[in-house]
Structures are given as C-alpha cells and as structure tokens.
C-alpha cells in the first residue's frame, strides 16, 4: 500500500505573490530558478525562486505585455507589448538589454528556437527572425492575414505560423527558407508541432481541431467543440493532443492507429471556462486553470478524474510547469501569482 500511495501526487502551495497586474503569461528559466511574468496592463516582473520567493517588477510595455518567452540555455528572456516593442531582458540583474520596434503592428507571439539562437516574432502580417542579441536575421514576406501564433518544432528547423486560413511552415536551413502551407478555410488560432515531429495541429475559430500528418500532408478534422478551439497542446511524449473550447478538456489519443474514428477522452470538472492548460515536461501530468478559480491536476493516462484540485483567489489566466515538471506557476487575472509544488502523498 505504501508503494502505491507514493505514486499519488498533490499540489501544495509554496508561495503566493502579488504581481498587481493581469497575468498574461509567464515563462520559467530553463534551470527553474526564475520566472518571468508579463502583465495585461504592461508590467514585466521577475520572480526569484528561494525562501522566500521574491517578485520584482523590472520594466513595462505601455498598453500591455502580450508575450513572454525564455531563451533556452540562457538567463535571458524576451517580451513583447501592445506598444509594438520587443524587449530582451537579462534575468540575473533584472535589466533590459535591448528594446526595439520591428514594425507598426504589435508583436503578438514570440518563440525561441530550441537551441536559443533564434527568436521568432509575429507582428501583424510579418514574421521575423532575430538573433539572440536582437539583430534582424530574416523577415518573411508579409502574409495575407495576421499571424496570431508562431512556434518552432522540436529540432528547430521549422517555424509554424497560425494565419487566417492556413498554417504556414517555414523551413530554415542554412539561410534558405522554404514555405509549406497547410490550408483550412477558417482562422487558425494555435500552431502545435508534436514532439515526435509527426504531426502539426491547430485549433480553429470555426470550432474544429485540425491535425496534419507531416509526412503525407493528410488533414484530419476533429469536431464537436462548443466554440473556438483556443487551447491546444501535445503531451510531452506526443501521445495525447489536448484541446479546449470551454469548460472541458478534450484529449485525442495518438497511440496505436491514432485518434481518427475514436471517441476522445473528456476531462470534466471545471464549472467555468478553462483559460490555460499545460502538459508536464517529462511527465504525464496535465494542469488546467479556469475562470472558476480552480486549478486541476490530471493524469489522463490513469484517470478521468482530477488527481488534485486547488482553489486560488480569482480567475486563472496562465498555468505553467517549471521545466523539471515539479512545480507550477498559476497566474490570475486580478494579479495574484501562486506557486504550487508537486508533492507525493
């Protein structure tokens, strides 16, 4: 019995911090010692993991911060804001290294290549690549519509861009750029490469989820959502594709012959909309945060019920696992930030 119990885990509150701004998103440093936080009213803050945890506001973006992305293998992160700027921050001193305005439109999405050498930005219709120092490496030709999300695949050779009516995948090889397009006549809201490289998924504004087999180009459509599929994420082992358009999480199982024709796993329990979720790095746990002030921890391979549920002080806007998968940061719309540790029970 004792051995079985040790498999069971729970969330234990570790720290509660006042960010005093709407938590748009947060990003952990690769070593898990720091957390960068971006605020809807524009605050940029840095949390130092310690005893106690400390939160320090280090800068701001006028009119709101839109994205935060931590550079792999470094103590640096990038933020972007409604003011149109991208900023690079040094996390050791909490200082701004560079701030620049790539164009007229605000940068809505930022993504680092896995090796930390390239930063991709999506601003309006233009996706740009920047060096780690913030110098322009390449600007892709403007798309026909606004790029709402940008991401790298795991090897870092492909950049996926979510557009209206297509996912564009730019391949970057020795400064040569080739573009492949995965089309569907609806606004693509997310772009998600599976870790094993086999699939490309996107949540759509028309209430569908699409995934393409990247070797055959075959497009599969999953329906039955209540509305826009705004949250999409692959489990670390590429077995599950999680998605949400409301109070439930819909999980598609890619083991065996894949999810087509199967019924998805539905994780129910939230009583209001889920606004953020995240798969545990290196593990099977999955965390969700909702407008019902509830944080739910799931282990979908084992159970359809949450492993643990914790209440926080307000509507949740961001949930992020630390890179070692042992800790989660929970950001709230009213500005509180809570850190939970994953503990055995």
């Amino acid at each position: 019995m004792a051995a079985k119990q040790s498999l069971s885990v729970a969330l234990e509150p570790r720290a509660s911090l006042s960010f005093d701004d709407y938590v748009t998103d947060c990003a952990w440093s690769p070593d898990g010692t720091r957390l960068a936080v971006a605020g809807g009213e524009g605050k940029v803050a840095l949390v130092s993991v310690g005893d106690p945890f400390a939160l320090q506001q280090i800068g701001e973006h006028l009119l709101g911060a839109l994205a935060v992305a931590w550079q792999p293998r470094a103590q640096r992160f990038a933020t972007s804001g409604q003011d149109g700027y991208i900023a690079l921050w040094d996390a050791t001193g909490g200082t701004q290294l560079k701030r620049w305005k790539p164009g007229v439109a605000a940068t809505q999405s930022l993504a680092w290549s896995p090796d930390g050498e390239l930063l991709a930005s999506a601003a309006g219709k233009v996706v740009c690549l920047w060096s780690a120092g913030g110098d322009k490496v390449h600007a892709f030709a403007p798309a026909a519509s606004t790029a709402v999300a940008v991401t790298f695949d795991k090897p870092g050779t492909d950049i996926g861009v979510a557009l209206n009516g297509e996912i564009a995948v730019h391949r970057v090889e020795k400064s040569r750029y080739e573009t492949r397009r995965y089309k569907w006549p609806a606004a693509c809201l997310t772009v998600n490469f599976s870790g094993n490289g086999r699939f490309l998924a996107s949540g759509m504004a028309d209430g569908t989820l699409h995934f393409w087999n990247r070797s055959t180009g075959k497009d599969s459509q999953m329906r039955g959502y209540d509305g826009k599929v705004q949250l999409v994420g692959w489990s670390d082992n590429s077995r599950y594709l999680a998605s949400s358009a409301g109070n439930d999480v819909v999980l598609w199982d890619f083991s065996g012959r894949g999810p087509e024709g199967t019924r998805p796993i539905v994780l129910s329990g939230h009583t209001d909309r889920i606004d953020s979720f995240h798969w545990q790095p290196g593990g099977e746990h999955f965390i969700t945060g909702g407008r019902d002030w509830r944080v739910s921890l799931w282990r979908p391979a084992k159970a359809r019920q949450p492993v643990d549920v914790q209440m926080v002080d307000g509507e949740i806007s961001a949930v992020r696992w630390s890179p070692d998968g042992k800790r989660v940061a929970i950001g709230e719309k009213q500005g509180r930030l809570t850190i939970f540790d994953l503990v055995a029970r």
Partner: protein
C-alpha cells in the same frame, strides 16, 4: 463564482474614405471630455498609417493592421478587445473605427456571435460619417457608402460647409431613402459633441439583421419606381439645369483638371458623376396611383426592362406606353415629351435614381414612389502602400503629387501618409481626397525611425506607377 462587471459600450464608427473619421478621432483623443475611451482603428492598407496620423495620442490608440474588416480582422478585433479587457482600470467606452471600405455589418455581428465578446461588451451604436461633398458621387458609383448608411444608427453628415443647402437637402433625403431610422446630425469639420457619438444607446440587433436582409433582396434592373396620376396630353420629362450646347459639342464634360494649388475647398468645383449616357426607363399604365399598384407592377417592369430599349435623343418623344426607353440624360436641361392618350395612373421605373439627374416630370409629383436595392459591385478598388526609409526631396515630392493629382485625382479616393523629408526634423503629414490635398508638419520624429508611409486608395491604381513616382521623389 466569477464576477461579471457591467458591459463596456462599443461604438462602431464607419464612413466612406475621407468622410472625416480621423478628424473626429483626433477630437475624441485630444479634447477634454473626462471619459476614458479606447479607440480601435482598422486600416484598409498595407501599412498602418492612421496611427501616425493621430497626433499625440499613442497611449490611447490601438491599431489592428489587418486589411479588410469583412474577413480577416475578426480574429484580430477579438484579440485587441481581449487585450483591453485585461486592464483592471477599465475604459468607459470603446470606439472601433472601421476602414472606409468596410461593411460594418460583420463587426456588429461579431458582438452577437462571439460569446466572449457578448459577455463583456455592449454594442452601443454604429455611427456612419458621410462626406456631404462627395457622398452623391460615391453612392452612385459604389455599394459601400449606401451600405454604411444603411447600417447606421447615427449618420454624421459632415463637411456641410462645402455644399449648398439644396445639396444638403438632397443628400439627407437620399440618406433617408436608404435608412429611414438613423438620426442625422449635420456637422462641419467633424465637430460633434462627443455625447452624441458615444451615447446613442440605440443599437438594435433586429434592425441590423433587417438591413442585412434588405441587401439580400433580388437584384432589380431599376433603382427607383414612381406612380403618377396624369391628365391626357403632353407631359415633359426633364433633367435639371439649362441645356448647354457647348458642353454637347465638346463631348465629355470638362472636369476641371487644373490643380487646386490654393487648397480652396469652396471653389465650386463639381465632380460630375455622369458624363455618359442613356438612362433606361420603363413606362407602364397602372390601375390606380397607389403604393400597392406600384408594388404590383414590379414584375411587369422587370419584364419590360428585359425587352430591347428604344433610344431617345435629347428633346425626343416617348410616344408609347407601355415601353422601354433609353433616354439621353447626358446634358443638363434635357427634356422628353411624354404623350398621354388617356388620363390615368402611370408608372415610371428608372435604372438609376432620377434625383441623380434631377429628372422629374414637369408639374407632377409621384403619388407613390419606392427605392429598390441596387447591387453595384465594387470593382477594382484597391490600396497601394509604400513604406520606405529613404529621405525625400521636397520639391520632387511636390512635382510627383502635382502629377498624380492631375492625372489620377479622380481615381484616387484617398491618399494619406507621413513623409520623411530631407532636412526636416518633423513628420510631414498629408491627406488628400480626390484632387484636394493638404499637408502639414506634425510632431518631430524624435527617436522614432524616419520612414515614409504612404497609402493611396482608389480605382484601377497601378502599383508600379506609384512606386516609380516615389522613386522619382527620393532625394539624391
């Protein structure tokens, strides 16, 4: 458990290119009115110039730079509204400026279709600005101005100082004909009390849908029909004005191609919309001069329009009824003799609204009349955006613009931009509407990158021509 605060009212501001929306926004963003207003702009162009044109208001200004609002912008609009809602000190009002080419319908519908928006925002009104000086011309040539007016809760009839009272009355009646329920407020230089724009509180989903349906009506070959009670004998169908044989001999009406160097907006220059052309009309006998009889005659009129028309020159006669004629209305003061053998009710259906030509039956008013949804299709209207950091030579810019306005003034509905002029530390901002053009120096560039951003919106514009023009103005 979640607390739902009161919804934030949203005003959608629409209006054809050059109607004065930017001027109004500048007022809203600069005047002291004690309200916190977030303005969302939507620009029909390849570069976002409007944010540069709104002077000193960066902190309140949000721009979605996204092409036509009918399609791709919805996602973005929702994004920006979501971003606004992340502010815990909330705005009192949100004002969405649609591009001049947009149909405001999709934006309005978004607030009803999207659950997220529905919970957080309350659409207050669609406000349409109308440029009194160019409205009649635009509405004849394009679909959008009529659509924008059709969707409006409030029409701001702007630039009333640039037209005479007769024109104002004609425009108002035309607006009324398109939208019988909108309030009309006359303004000069977009000077309207902000409460009038933001507190309309009149948005009515049913009305928006009803208008939408009207635009889905079947396509008729005519825009207007009227029924008259006529005595036997000759009647005269006349166009407005005095017949001028000179303009006849010279063919197409001269369009005043001299450049308006003095920027005089009151020079009486008139954009002649119809230098052609035959107007197709159908005459039908009706049992009585009533709206019901007119409605009953619609099908018959459609069939008659399908028959070949008899061409009638100026001063010609329309001897038969029923019949389909093509009357030459290219000259002011043209008249046509209508021979009525038997007293009674007669319907006249016109391809275009008769008011466009001042066409009327001398001494008779229609007992009933009706407009029909016309389906002009926007054809080759596009925008050309040029964004270039190279400094420009002021003299060469002037030459280029002079040439542009002379050669393409009629085709360019709107031009605006910010110029990086060599040796000038302030931004040169320009606006142009057709051949009228105004430029002034605005705030200094300061730390901002010096880049010229120009947008030209018009019909049949050739990008290569504009790029070559810009190239010719680059300082050597």
């Amino acid at each position: 458990m979640s607390v739902t605060p009161s919804r934030v009212p949203v005003t959608v501001l629409t209006g054809f290119l050059g109607s004065g929306k930017t001027t109004l926004l500048n007022r809203i963003l600069s005047e002291k009115h004690g309200k916190r207003i977030a303005v969302i702009e939507n620009e029909f162009g390849e570069v976002g110039v409007d944010s540069e044109l709104v002077i000193g208001a960066e902190e309140e200004l949000f721009e979605t730079n996204n092409g036509c609002i009918c399609c791709t912008v919805r996602g973005d609009l929702i994004r920006i509204l979501g971003q606004l809602m992340k502010r815990r000190d909330r705005f009192d009002y949100i004002l969405i400026e649609t591009t001049g080419m947009a149909d405001p319908g999709p934006v309005a519908q978004t607030f009803f279709l999207d659950d997220e928006l529905k919970n957080q925002f309350q659409l207050d009104a669609i406000v349409t600005m109308v440029d009194a000086r160019h409205f009649e011309q635009h509405v004849d040539e394009l679909n959008e101005p009529a659509e924008q007016v059709a969707f409006a809760d409030l029409v701001l009839l702007n630039k009333t100082d640039l037209v005479d009272d007769a024109a104002l009355a004609r425009i108002e009646s035309r607006i009324r004909g398109i939208n019988g329920t909108a309030k009309i407020h006359r303004t000069k230089n977009a000077d309207v009390p902000i409460e009038k724009v933001l507190n309309v509180g009149a948005f009515d989903l049913n009305r928006a849908l009803a208008v939408d349906e009207a635009f889905l009506e079947p396509e008729y070959p005519f825009e207007w029909g009227g029924v008259y009670a006529l005595a036997a004998g000759d009647h005269l169908l006349k166009t407005a004005g005095e017949h001028d044989h000179h303009s006849h001999e010279h063919g197409a009406h001269e369009h005043g191609h001299e450049h308006h160097d003095n920027h005089d907006h009151n020079d009486g220059h008139d954009h002649e919309g119809h230098k052609h052309e035959d107007l197709d009309v159908v005459l039908l006998p009706l049992p009585e001069a009533t709206p019901a009889a007119l409605n009953d005659a619609i099908e018959k009129a459609v069939r008659a329009f399908a028959e070949p028309a008899t061409v009638v020159p100026c001063h010609g006669a329309l001897p038969e009824i029923p019949a389909h004629y093509a009357i030459d209305v290219s000259h002011p003061g043209a008249d046509f003799k209508l021979k009525i053998a038997k007293p009674g009710a007669y319907a006249l259906f016109c391809e275009h609204h008769p008011a466009e030509f001042g066409l009327h039956l001398h001494g008779a008013n229609p007992a009933a009349e009706r407009r029909f949804a016309s389906h002009h299709h926007e054809d080759d209207i596009a925008s050309i955006g040029i964004s270039d950091p190279r400094p420009l030579d002021p003299a060469k810019v002037n030459q280029w613009f002079d040439y542009l306005l002379k050669s393409r003034g009629q085709d360019i509905f709107r031009m605006k931009g910010v110029l990086n002029v060599k040796g000038e530390d302030r931004r040169q901002v320009f606006h142009g509407v057709h051949m009228m053009f105004d430029a002034q120096a605005e705030r200094p560039w300061g730390q901002a990158p010096r880049v010229s951003n120009l947008v030209f919106i018009g019909r049949g514009l050739d990008r290569a021509e504009f790029e070559a023009g810009f190239e010719s103005a680059v300082a050597k």
